[in-house]
Amino acid sequence: MYVTTDPSEAKQIDPLEMPTLCPGAMAASNPWVAGPDHQASCGFPGELVDNWQEKAIEKMGELLGKYRSLKVYLDSCVKCGACTDKCHYFLGTGDPKNMPVARQDLLRKVYRRYFTLAGKWFPSLVGAEDLTEEVLNDWYTYFHQCSQCRRCSVFCPYGIDTAEISMAGREILDHIGKGQKYCNEIIGKVHTIGNNLGLRPNALRSTLEGLEEDIEDDIGVPVKLPLDVKGADILLVTPSADFFAEPHIDGLIGYAKVFHAAGASWTISSFASEAANFGMFIGSYENMRQISLRIRQAALDLGVKRIVFGECGHAWRVAYSFLNTLAGPFDFLDPRYPVPQHICEYTWDLIEQGKLQFDKSKNDHIKLTFHDSCNVARATRMGDMPGGQFEIPRNILKTVCNHYFDMPADTIKEATFCCGGGGGLLTDELMDLRKKGSSPRMKALQTVQQEHGVTHMAAICAICKTQFSKVMPDYGFERDSILSVHQLVSNAIILEAPHDEE
């Protein structure tokens, strides 16, 4: 592994380093356009409609009447420049259209032209423009270079959130027949099969059974991963990546061990076998709502008392902030627990009650840092206090690991960087963008590698984990240097072997 010993070199790494402006640098970065089938599965026209211009303006007008955020944010920006250096894609690419305000302006200039007096009368004065094919292509290109991480909204004096703009932009694109393949194909799978991967119930069952065998072989304790158990207390909803990807699956094993240690009655649902909700990425309330209703349905069908979400960033945003709105009220669940709960809240509760035992030395080969996943950090909470989303995962990690170090303060917590693959961009054809977008986080990681010899980074998001396992090798780390938080819990937790009955 790459370790620099020269302290003067350590100072040279600056995660917030300002790039020189390179107009058009990322103009060629486009995700695949969704085909007719994928469009249809989400309820959108199959290809670019003939009167797309008219339809796009009509849709924009509809959204302006439905979303206060869009209306207020398109009107209120004063172009102060506070956000210009806050986006990881701008820092990584130098493309000025990746400055949050410039990305918003792609939509704002059309809004001004068609919906404001100033833009109708004095277009060139206020930067208003007709919706041309060139502008449409810019929308597609640059609204798919926003991971909706909300970092810009922290620093904007009016709280303008570019995620709201890029979601509206994608919603308009979908409705004129120019959707993005990656998101819409996945949403179609959730609607028909129940998860992003298209993993059918039988395959899921055998995967979970295989995992149970692996765990028992490994530690000699029969930890179960129950599926579709009616009458279980807890429904676990977790990203489907947890069922097969590394290091996600080690996190799933961690949840199972925690449930086992607590003696909890829990189950996974094959009907709602996906925590992620890509409906949010495309700004579609209706798709997001339908996906959320599967979870409500599963909870009702299985008769559970609680819902707990696994480690997944945007999923936790939809779960924490939107689930009650989209699929509530959850008055049929046990009112003593928040709906839903995060697995970290669940585990931390047990730790505080002294119900879990750990051997921290099992993680002594690891010098750890924690990546605050963007949507968990800036769009959700854990526990009772604001900021619990920062403290609870760290408290868990410090409970199970002896060597913990935070990255620089301006790159964590509310100022955290996106991994570079969030918001529906975790697709291979955007690898160049993803790698460039990850650079601020990777540089921040290198600083603690140099200062403290940090070897691993933990995260609580399926996208972050997949993204980092792809980009970390470029920065001299092993692929498996990215860990699930519950993987570290899994390593250290002490489970009692069953009493020998013979």
């Binding site: 209306k71 420049g81 060139s124 009016y158 709280g159």
Partner: protein, 250 residues
């Protein structure tokens, strides 16, 4: 200084009546639009307050101290904050031309208002310089962004000229505005600097509701700033979203 001709007085009287109506009606209309548009989802930028009182404090810090801007960029913060606070003091000081007799508080503010004029112009100059000097800000600046600064700068400088270079007949100015408020038109002094100052102010009032200056209302309606973090405890449902549920079986 001699009073202006009846024509001049009539023009400026009309100008200020029109400007006032446009400002009040236009701005009220904009606020109505913001208020009437539903916010269907809970999107506060976290960590966010969990109570309404907490949200009031958050908005207060945002408006009084520009908290988010402070986190972002100290240069924009110092120029922006100084400009806005100085403008507030200057505006308060100007109330003396609209009330009679002048309350002690306004008399007390008087000397600070003079200092504030310098601070206001300095803040504007800093903000304007950034639009030329900082490449990123230059890229996002449109002609209207420059014009808005020019307008404010023109107002500030013409106002200062009347204080420090060529005094105008402020007693007559006050009589003119008190007259406007009582619908009894009094002659306006035909002082060119004053007329420039008043024209620019009227233009600003007319432009205000149709420009980015509506950020002054927008900040209070921004869902990322004004929402309470309580989505698990309280179900938040917009009227249009509630209609989607009509067909939903339990």
């Amino acid at each position: 200084m001699a009073g202006g001709t009846p024509v001049l007085t009539t023009i400026y009287a009309c100008l200020f009546y029109v400007a006032t109506v446009v400002l009040v009606v236009g701005f009220a209309n904009r606020i109505r639009q913001f208020a009437m548009t539903p916010a269907p989802l809970k999107i506060p930028t976290m960590p966010a307050p969990t109570t309404k009182t907490g949200v009031a404090f958050r908005l207060f810090r945002e408006v009084a101290f520009f908290e988010s801007l402070f986190k972002s960029n100290k240069w924009i913060w110092v120029f922006g904050w100084v400009f806005h606070m100085a403008l507030a003091v200057v505006l308060i000081r100007h109330l003396r031309y609209f009330v009679h007799p002048v309350p002690e508080v306004l008399a007390f503010v008087q000397p600070f208002g003079v200092l504030a004029a310098f601070a206001m112009v300095a803040g504007l100059a800093g903000l304007w310089a950034r639009r030329f000097v900082v490449e990123r800000v230059r890229y996002i600046s449109r002609p209207s962004d420059h014009l808005m600064l020019a307008l404010l700068m023109g107002i500030g400088l013409s106002g200062m000229m009347m204080k420090f270079v060529a005094h105008t007949d402020i007693v007559a100015v006050k009589a003119f505005f008190l007259g406007l408020m009582r619908f009894s038109i009094q002659p306006i002094p035909a002082d060119p600097i004053l007329l420039v100052h008043l024209t620019l102010v009227a233009v600003l009032m007319i432009v205000f509701p149709f420009s980015k200056l509506v950020h002054s209302a927008g900040v209070f309606f921004s869902p990322t700033r004004n929402q309470v973090d309580n989505s698990r405890e309280v179900r938040h449902l917009a009227p249009w979203a509630a209609k989607l549920e009509a067909d939903r079986a339990r």
